[in-house]
């Protein structure tokens, strides 16, 4: 589990990881290899997410929706090395954000090393930086699903840039980078930092922007469920890097995280399938992949800290929770286009809290303290995200504009914003 946070600590605390101390450790080419591979796997989640989301919207918005994921890769891909890493993993300023001029533009870490999880060996700091950078990319890309089919591209781009600076980087610092929750909440790979923060931001954004024209009256059909399925497959593959890579090592802890990830994803899928089968006598492919995602999200904070039975339980129950959350959305009638809150928010909260009851080892401070830590993590992540997201939404909306004008919304983002069509193949040419 991420409790010990070696990588971050090493970077932060001069006492623990004086340059000399770290350099005395032997190089771990195996852990380096796995972290490099994990970084590639997590990057695979970006096209995976683009496919997953892209397949669910209407034909006229497919490219625009996919571009939301890719744009996050471009924008945060540039911001993270410039300033994001310094903010997330620099020495703490008051426990809420980091800062280290040496990490700006990564100028000071070109040849530095950090210890792996158990501090017996070392890996280049760059691999940790890049691995973490992928998380910073994925998180705002997730939010995009909540406002899909009705958001301006320029406004979205500015919004995620600011959100990354004001929400993601501080939150990563608070939970992982030495901030005030570091060492409290168990959050291996971003249940709070990523899924809850993105889920809540998505909810706020969906409410702020309002529903799509015609929602919920007009049925809005996915343009390409085939692609959505494929994307879900890539997400599953990438998630191995996401969770197992978060152990910053290549050993037992890594293997545990990978195992629990696999089990929870399967359990989530199977549960959702069973639910739909029982309630509708039909098992949909979208239901199945929703279950996969629910399981994956729920195990994300927990993958290092639970055993197979716990992973089964978390993954399986997560599908119940998300199923319910989406039913509730339909009842309430707000338009979270791709259920960012219904999946990432709901399963994220469930996983973060639920893991307490299936931990491998009794937590250091006892179950109830740990439970409180977990709840605190949820509240901080959710609260910070909700407030800051709202502020940013208003800010961007009032300046450059966020909501697409009705005519362009009807015409579709692909044509109106990007001057393209996703599927020339349907046209005669």
């Amino acid at each position: 589990m991420r409790l010990s946070l070696p990588a971050a600590l090493a970077v932060l605390s001069p006492s623990l990881a004086l340059a000399g101390d770290v350099m005395a450790l032997p190089e771990d080419t195996g852990a380096t290899a796995w972290m490099l591979a994990s970084t590639a796997l997590v990057l695979l989640m970006v096209p995976g997410l683009a496919m997953f989301y892209g397949g669910l919207v209407r034909t006229k918005n497919v490219l625009g929706t996919m571009m939301h994921s890719f744009a996050a890769m471009a924008i945060i891909g540039v911001l993270w090395p410039i300033i994001g890493y310094a903010m997330a993993f620099g020495p703490s300023v008051g426990g809420v954000v980091g800062w280290d001029a040496d990490k700006v533009l990564l100028s000071g870490i070109d040849t530095t090393w950090i210890p792996i999880l158990d501090e017996t060996r070392r890996i280049p700091e760059y691999v940790f930086t890049m691995f973490q950078g992928k998380f910073a990319i994925i998180t705002p890309a997730l939010i995009a699903g909540a406002v899909a089919e009705r958001v301006r591209f320029g406004g979205y781009a500015v919004f995620i840039a600011l959100w990354s600076l004001l929400v993601y980087n501080p939150l990563a610092h608070i939970v992982w980078g030495g901030g005030f929750l570091t060492g409290e909440a168990i959050d291996l790979a971003g249940g709070t930092v990523i899924h809850i923060s993105a889920g809540v931001a998505g909810l706020v954004a969906a409410l702020y922007l309002g529903a799509r024209h015609g929602y919920p009256r007009t049925a809005m059909h996915p343009n390409n469920l085939v692609m959505t399925l494929t994307g879900a497959g890539l997400l599953w593959v990438g998630w191995f890097g996401f969770n197992a890579g978060s152990q910053v090592s290549s050993g037992l802890a890594t293997a545990q995280a990978l195992t629990m990830t696999q089990i929870a994803a399967s359990a989530g899928a199977l549960t959702w399938m069973a639910l739909e089968g029982l309630l509708h006598r039909k098992v949909s492919s979208l239901g199945m992949v929703s279950g996969i995602l629910a399981g994956l999200v729920a195990i994300t904070p927990a993958a290092g800290a639970v055993m197979p039975l716990g992973a089964l339980a978390l993954g399986g129950l997560a599908s119940f929770v998300c199923y319910g959350a989406i039913a509730m959305k339909n009842a309430l009638g707000y338009d979270d286009t791709l259920d960012v809150f219904g999946i990432h928010g709901a399963a994220g909260i469930f996983g973060a809290i639920g893991l307490t009851f299936v931990l491998r080892d009794t937590p250091e401070h006892g179950l109830w303290t740990q439970l409180w830590f977990q709840v605190k993590g949820v509240l901080v992540a959710g609260g910070l995200s909700a407030v800051a997201t709202l502020v940013l939404l208003v800010l961007v909306d009032k300046t450059i504009g966020l909501r697409l004008p009705p005519r362009e919304e009807l015409a579709g983002m692909d044509h109106a914003l990007h001057g393209e069509h996703g599927y020339g193949l349907t046209n005669v040419n």
Binding site: T218, L286, G287, S290
Partner: protein, 113 residues
């Protein structure tokens, strides 16, 4: 000569096609269409049933000499029905056809059908 347009359910395409061939009608043009009629179709979306506003249909276009119109209609009606006929089974429209030209030979009229 008439041009017959039939809107049928996609799952009946093969059966209709076979029925037409049996009735001596071997040339047809088919395309995909989306229909809005009396029938409604349920789809699942993340555990919720939604009503599709437009449903996939197959649209057949068949140019016929006058004698073949009634047999063709009969064949389609028989083959395109689900059971004894259900909502959504479709429609047939008959339109006057003034001229037909076979591109390869330039033949016109009823031989060109």
């Amino acid at each position: 000569m008439k041009l017959l347009i039939a809107i049928i359910q996609p799952d009946k395409l093969d059966e209709v096609h076979e029925a037409l061939v049996a009735a001596g009608i071997t040339r047809i043009t088919a395309s995909r269409a989306s229909g809005q009629g009396r029938a409604q179709e349920m789809e699942l979306y993340r555990g919720t049933e939604i009503t599709a506003s437009r449903m996939p249909k197959v649209r057949l276009e068949i140019a016929l000499n006058d004698d073949f119109v009634q047999p063709c209609i009969d064949a389609i009606v028989r083959a395109a029905r689900h059971g004894d006929g259900e909502r959504g089974d479709g429609k047939i429209f008959v339109i006057p056809l003034e001229r037909t030209v076979r591109i390869s030979t330039g033949e016109v009229g009823s031989e060109a059908i």
